[in-house]
């Protein structure tokens, strides 16, 4: 799919997005709320047949951000869905693993490190922290006391 066609098709999900940012020719950000992230992901993966690369979780003070990176391998364009989770007390987002099995482990890792609950994830067990790591302590949150002094802001 060429760049022009991709941009035209992205407008089909425009009502689910807060905004579209094009930082460079080959980098597109789709900003959306957490509730709509599942539908936008499904559109990119199933309708546009883009390749899922990886997801990223970020603690950005007022909200959590989950970034789903997709690649259009024909042009090398990377499309990133930036989903904002506003609820800091009980952060949760719909899992994309049911239709995209490749996301299973990265969602488990984000669940481990940031404490984000992925709803309808088939297997949300601990992945990379130690077996005796205390429950409810999420090391990549900015307020986490276990974070070393050197990495704090």
């Amino acid at each position: 799919m060429l760049q022009e066609e991709l941009k035209n098709r992205l407008s089909e999900v425009k009502d689910k997005l807060i905004g579209i940012e094009e930082t460079t020719e080959r980098r597109i950000y789709l900003l959306c709320e957490a509730e709509n992230a599942h539908a936008v992901n499904k559109f990119l993966f199933e309708d546009l047949a883009l390749r899922f690369v990886i997801a990223t979780g970020i603690d950005s003070d007022d909200c959590f951000e989950i970034l789903y990176h997709f690649s259009n391998d024909e042009t090398g364009c990377v499309i990133t869905i930036k989903a904002f989770i506003r609820d800091r007390e009980k952060p949760s987002i719909e899992s994309i693993t049911p239709f995209l099995p490749g996301a299973e482990w990265i969602e488990r890792e984000i669940h481990d490190l940031l404490g984000i609950d992925f709803e309808n994830h088939p297997n949300l067990r601990r992945l990379i922290l130690a077996d005796d790591w205390p429950e409810g302590v999420y090391p990549l949150r900015k307020a986490c006391p276990e974070r070393s002094e050197g990495t704090k802001k």
Partner: protein, 143 residues
């Protein structure tokens, strides 16, 4: 020299333990065994069980999950044994010092199990195979 020490130095069999390394040191350890350096001609070879080993090659910072296994592996190694700490992480946790998942330094963890352990440090990120061979030679001539 006791019989045990003599047999330890005769041909050192090593067991490789990764306790949270980035795999870079591990690649250099494997490189040391390839034909270019070929330490097997000195009788140094990797074995599949700590019970067969004379030395432990430890790489990595020592994560919370891995140090439990490291203590157990050290207990199971036939004594006397030498512990080689390979790389900056194993020698003193390196750039991961103070990280949330770091339980190391590795030498302190081994000293908890055995205060008289023979520990050799090979720093570097990663250390060259020459440095590891030099470390082995120095330890064996010091024993």
């Amino acid at each position: 020299m006791s019989l045990k020490m003599w047999s330890l130095k005769k041909s050192v069999w090593v067991f490789h333990v990764n306790v949270g390394a980035c795999n870079n040191c591990d690649i250099e350890v494997v490189n040391m065994l390839t034909p270019k350096y070929d330490v097997e001609r000195f009788g140094i070879k990797l074995v599949g069980s700590p019970r067969h080993a004379d030395a432990l090659l430890v790489t990595g910072v020592g994560t919370h999950q891995a140090v439990i296994r490291l203590r157990e592996v050290y207990r199971q190694t036939a004594k006397p044994c030498v512990v080689f700490l390979i790389g900056a992480c194993a020698c003193g946790t390196g750039i991961f010092k103070g990280g949330y998942h770091v339980a190391g330094p590795v030498d302190e963890i081994i000293r908890e199990v055995d205060p008289d352990a023979i520990i050799a440090y090979v720093p570097g990120c990663p250390p060259k195979p020459e440095a590891m061979i030099s470390g082995v030679v120095k330890v064996l001539s010091a024993l």
